[in-house]
């Protein structure tokens, strides 16, 4: 089955992700897919949560930290500035504390905590994933295409989601026990209503958010995950391993896309040995890819003669990706 057919047959798969090691062309394919869908009349948002992402480069437009920017009709692109996002969030928390308790200044101890928490390495990921939930649940777009953070981080987050889930359940149990004490005290004091535990509500909210972000990654109906690989031995092995892990976390794999295939029509007589050897090598590995991943290999995308930047080049990649054009 070709990529195009998969898109046509599964209109529900509206969350599209390209994964794979860095530098294999994930961002390129994200942009090309967004372009192709936009051209077909769908409203698309392509966004990057990778601080090293290069959507700005590919679209030749600085969009970093500017929210969704319209690139062409129906095509929007967004690069999340995690640091800025965290700073805003810290301010939001500070403001909430000031409002809740009518303070002029956040107490020092609390302020220290806010700063220390922002410095945690896990802060960035959790902030990004939370942002993703915001973007996706807004439902403004027909398709969401995201350029993932490097694989390891996504997997870590996924693996933690179920731990968080159980943990929040336990903590919720603790809060409920506390609410029980409140209720008995209210009975004794003949008070009609007990004050609702706001933390209990917030815990439910957090649980919902974490589940939402992990389910976006693991939803079999709505999510399509494509692995990008190139015909090289190490990459094939890595991809195999990663695919195994993804399967373990229930990420629905929709297929593999091979990038950087040297166009066979180059195989004229008068090419340098260097190129010929490379083509021989690629042929061997393409064969191996076919053996390993079989019919799940959706398409081969050729190596282009120049950088993929600007809409015309993106269009060429899109055509190669979806229409099989060389």
């Amino acid at each position: 089955m070709s990529l195009k057919e998969i898109f046509e047959k599964n209109p529900d798969r509206r969350y599209i992700m390209f994964g794979g090691k860095g530098g294999l062309g994930k961002t390129t394919f994200s942009a090309a897919t967004a372009y192709w869908l936009a051209k077909r009349g769908y409203k698309v948002l392509v966004f990057s949560v990778d601080p090293q992402a290069s959507l700005s480069d590919i679209f030749e437009k600085d969009i970093f930290g500017k929210g969704p920017v319209e690139i062409m009709p129906n095509l929007f692109a967004q690069e999340i500035d995690a640091d800025q996002r965290i700073r805003e969030y810290q301010d939001e928390i500070r403001q909430k504390i000031l409002d809740m308790y009518g303070l002029d200044q956040v107490p020092e101890e609390i302020e220290n905590y806010i700063q220390a928490a922002a410095a945690e390495p896990a802060m960035e990921e959790s902030a990004i994933f939370d942002e993703v939930v915001d973007i996706v649940v807004s439902g403004e777009y027909d398709y969401y295409i995201y350029d993932l953070v490097p694989l390891g981080h996504a997997l870590y987050y996924l693996s933690m989601a179920s731990v968080y889930d159980q943990w929040i359940d336990k903590i919720t149990g603790l809060r409920e026990e506390m609410a029980e004490y409140d209720q008995v005290a209210a009975v004794m004091r003949r008070e009609k209503e007990t004050e609702e535990d706001k933390i209990l509500k917030e815990l439910q909210y957090i649980k919902h958010r974490i589940n939402a972000s992990s389910s976006i990654l693991t939803d079999k109906v709505k999510t399509a995950f494509y692995f990008v690989l190139i015909p090289e031995e190490m990459i094939i092995l890595d991809t195999q391993k990663a695919a195994g892990l993804f399967a373990k976390y229930d990420v629905p794999l929709s297929g593999y896309i091979v990038n950087r295939v040297i166009p066979p029509e180059l195989a004229a007589d008068n090419i340098p040995d260097y190129l010929r050897n490379r083509m021989e090598m690629q042929k061997k590995y393409l064969h191996k890819i076919e053996q390993t991943f079989g019919s799940e290999v959706l398409t081969n995308v050729p190596e282009f003669e120049r950088d993929i930047t600007g809409l015309p080049m993106i269009e060429r990649v899109a055509n190669a990706l979806f229409e099989g054009q060389r």
């Binding site: 504390i97 609390i110 896990a122 959790s126 903590i171 004490y181 004794m188 933390i199 815990l203 909210y205």
Partner: protein, 100 residues
């Protein structure tokens, strides 16, 4: 219908006497029970803070983004929590109950 002023004043006096008596009886009976329930609850609250904000295990269990989300609700308890954890206690702290 209106009563002569001295009757309303008397009524108010009787009412407030009853209120005072009810409050005293409450203090002699339920107050301590409610106080213990609240203490028990406060201990759980401290446990909660310790788990969520303790950072004692090195890795915060909840993603830090969400710990911050809970912070505003915990804020007033954090100083009290620290003091309560750090305060030295001896037997004389426990003797606030009836004996003798």
């Amino acid at each position: 219908m209106s009563f002569p002023p001295f009757i309303t004043r008397l009524g108010r006096g009787v009412k407030s006497t009853f209120r005072t008596l009810a409050e005293i009886i409450y203090g002699a009976t339920i107050h301590e029970m409610v106080r213990d329930l609240r203490k028990e609850r406060a201990h759980l609250e401290h446990l909660f803070i310790l788990i969520v904000f303790g950072d004692i295990l090195g890795i915060p269990i909840l993603p830090p983004y969400y710990t911050l989300h809970l912070l505003p609700y915990i804020a007033p308890n954090i100083t009290g929590w620290k003091r309560s954890l750090l305060r030295e206690r001896d037997l004389t702290d426990l003797c606030d109950q009836e004996i003798g």
